[in-house]
């Protein structure tokens, strides 16, 4: 791999007896979008905080831009943009002032700052709201402003912790579009998510995490090919079919649905057509990989 931006070796983080990050290894290539996919409590946010030097590691090695993170945290953060899970815009300021004040924390030169703020507000479609106070913005606008704020220092790497959680589909699509543009411009993106669609659309590479460990790593297509059969038939409600083995199906039950994973769904579909069972036939996706690897029980 050429010139990785962040490299972790056997990285771990413990709180008392709890191992929140449990000896993970990863190497994040420059200019790509790298995802951390996992259920709540998998250790994704802690991994990001470790990368930013915002929490001490308990073991292993972690480098960003070739520098050990915890000795050079301040230096590293100068080159990184951060979009936190919950917006923490400064409520005492307007939209444009939020960017200007944030720029002062990076000690950015004032020459060209106005132009940069204008360009960023244009980029996130907030130019018209530049004098609005942040609490008057919708959730989607606040998120976009947070993204603009993360870009104020022209970062080489942008770290996003669940960038679209809690947003409506329109707002989510706008943000995906902006992130795709950033990546196309050569910025490295690291994001955590539990939205499969987001991971499939944005991530070149991703790891699936649970209980502090990395369960699998690869591109979305690689992960699907590696872990699940290519086709799924999802049967809703009760079904009279009992001989899945003969049809070469691997079955899993979740809620009131039965998932049948197979390399060839034709025989099963033929049987289903003769009954009046409700079903959906679709290609396997990341969600199937995710549920297979992390299990189906409820997480809180």
């Amino acid at each position: 791999m050429i010139d990785p931006v962040v490299v972790a070796q056997n990285l771990s983080k413990t709180y008392g007896a709890a191992r929140v990050v449990n000896g993970v290894d990863f190497s994040i290539p420059r200019g790509r979008c790298y995802g951390f996919l996992g259920p709540n409590g998998a250790g994704k946010t802690t991994t990001l905080r470790l990368m930013l030097g915002l929490t001490p590691k308990s073991g292993g090695a972690l480098e960003a831009f070739g520098l050990p993170v915890h000795e050079h945290a301040s230096q590293i953060r100068r080159r990184v943009g951060v979009v936190p899970q919950a917006d923490n815009l400064d409520p005492d300021f307007t939209v444009a002032e939020n960017l200007r004040v944030y720029a002062s924390y990076f000690a950015l030169p004032s020459a060209g700052l106005d132009a940069r703020i204008d360009a960023l507000l244009e980029f996130v479609a907030l130019a018209e709201r530049r004098h609005a106070r942040t609490h008057t913005l919708s959730g989607g606008m606040q998120r976009r402003l947070t993204i603009a704020r993360a870009l104020i220092n022209e970062p080489e790497l942008v770290v996003l912790d669940e960038p679209t959680t809690g947003l409506d589909p329109q707002a989510r699509h706008v943000i995906w579009g902006r992130l795709a543009e950033l990546r196309a411009a050569g910025t490295t993106l690291i994001l955590t998510t539990h939205y499969m669609e987001e991971a499939e659309r944005l991530c070149d590479e991703l790891v699936i995490m649970d209980h502090g460990s990395i369960l699998s790593h690869g591109s979305p297509a690689q992960l699907i090919a590696e872990h699940v059969e290519p086709e799924v038939v999802e049967i809703r409600g009760e079904s009279s079919i009992a001989r899945f083995d003969a049809l070469e199906c691997r079955t899993e039950r979740m809620g009131t649905s039965l998932y049948c994973y197979t390399h060839d769904a034709a025989p099963l579909l033929a049987e289903l057509h003769d009954t009046h069972t409700q079903f959906v036939h679709r290609p396997s996706g990341l969600e199937d990989v995710f549920l297979k690897l992390t299990g189906r029980e409820l997480r809180d």
């Binding site: 771990s12 983080k13 413990t14 709180y15 008392g16 191992r19 930013l52 915002l54 929490t55 001490p56 590691k57 308990s58 073991g59 292993g60 050990p68 993170v69 915890h70 000795e71 945290a73 301040s74 230096q75 953060r77 100068r78 990184v80 951060v82 936190p84 919950a86 923490n88 815009l89 400064d90 409520p91 005492d92 300021f93 002032e97 004040v101 944030y102 002062s104 924390y105 990076f106 000690a107 704020r149 993360a150 220092n153």
Partner: protein, 270 residues
């Protein structure tokens, strides 16, 4: 291996000595920008309170008291209140406002994603709290001058002292904030620390009138040293042991600022 037990935090030491870096001034400047927005109500508080105290107590009580400590009572009161007001202003700011920025508003979380560190944030806050003390000191001095109780231009030398008093009292208040689970916690500090100093440290009457045992205790408290500096400067009397008083204030500032940095590092970077 110590790491395996998770007890050793590698490459990270909460006890590291804080440095003063440029970032502190960015945090200070942020607060100035917010203050600019609320300048009218802030100034109303800065001018209104001392005016009421000086008119009400200074003239009212002063009528019966006449002179105290070799000066008119209103001068005695004004020269003490310049110190006590610096104390309360810095304490309020370092507790209620700093806590608001740290916890509900998550301003520090946002700042910590930039090159700034906890020590920069707290140094900026400390400086800002002292700046607010300075504003309140200027207001009292202006009111006192208008009432004709300031003895001359030498009184202006009290302003750098007020800044130092603000720094001295902001630091322990920051430590309270660092350890605080919520706003209610600050009531303890005001009732047990700030109000007793306000009453006992020579703002309203000379410390020498207190029982000997109490005096010894009061001489350890920073407000006593603050008043010992502001009173002679404002009233035009000679200073006694200015170096000692200054050092005591600096010591309080240094020790408590360092403690606040350590506690907040442990709280936010856990």
């Amino acid at each position: 291996m110590a790491n395996e037990a998770g007890t050793v935090a590698m490459g990270w030491d909460p006890w590291r000595i804080p440095r003063l870096r440029r970032g502190a001034f960015a945090v200070w400047r942020r607060n100035v920008l917010v203050w600019r927005r609320l300048v009218i109500p802030s100034l109303l508080l800065n001018f209104g309170e001392p005016t009421l105290y000086l008119l009400g107590l200074g003239f009212g009580l002063g009528h019966f008291i006449g002179e105290m400590g070799g000066m008119p009572y209103i001068t005695f009161l004004a020269s003490g209140m310049i110190a006590s007001s610096a104390m309360t202003t810095a304490s309020y700011e370092a507790m209620y406002s700093v806590y608001t920025r740290m916890v509900p508003q998550k301003t520090y979380e946002a700042i910590l994603a930039t090159p700034l560190e906890i020590e920069d944030i707290l140094a900026g806050e400390l400086l800002w709290c002292a700046t607010k003390s300075l504003l309140s000191g200027c207001a009292i001095l202006a009111v006192a001058a208008l009432l004709g109780v300031v003895q001359g231009w030498q009184a202006l030398f009290v302003l750098p002292v007020v800044l130092l008093i603000g720094l001295c009292f902001a630091a322990p208040a920051l430590l309270m904030t660092a350890a605080s689970p919520g706003y209610e916690f600050f009531n303890y500090y005001f009732v047990l620390i700030i109000t007793p100093m306000f009453i006992m440290c020579g703002v309203f009457y000379p410390v020498s009138t207190l029982p000997a045992v109490v005096q010894e205790f009061v001489h350890v408290l920073p407000l006593t040293h603050a008043v010992a500096l502001t009173r002679p400067i404002v009233s035009g009397q000679p200073l006694t042991q200015p170096l000692l008083h200054t050092l005591v204030l600096l010591l309080y500032m240094t020790v408590f600022y360092y403690a606040a940095v350590v506690v907040i590092r442990k709280r936010l970077l856990n």
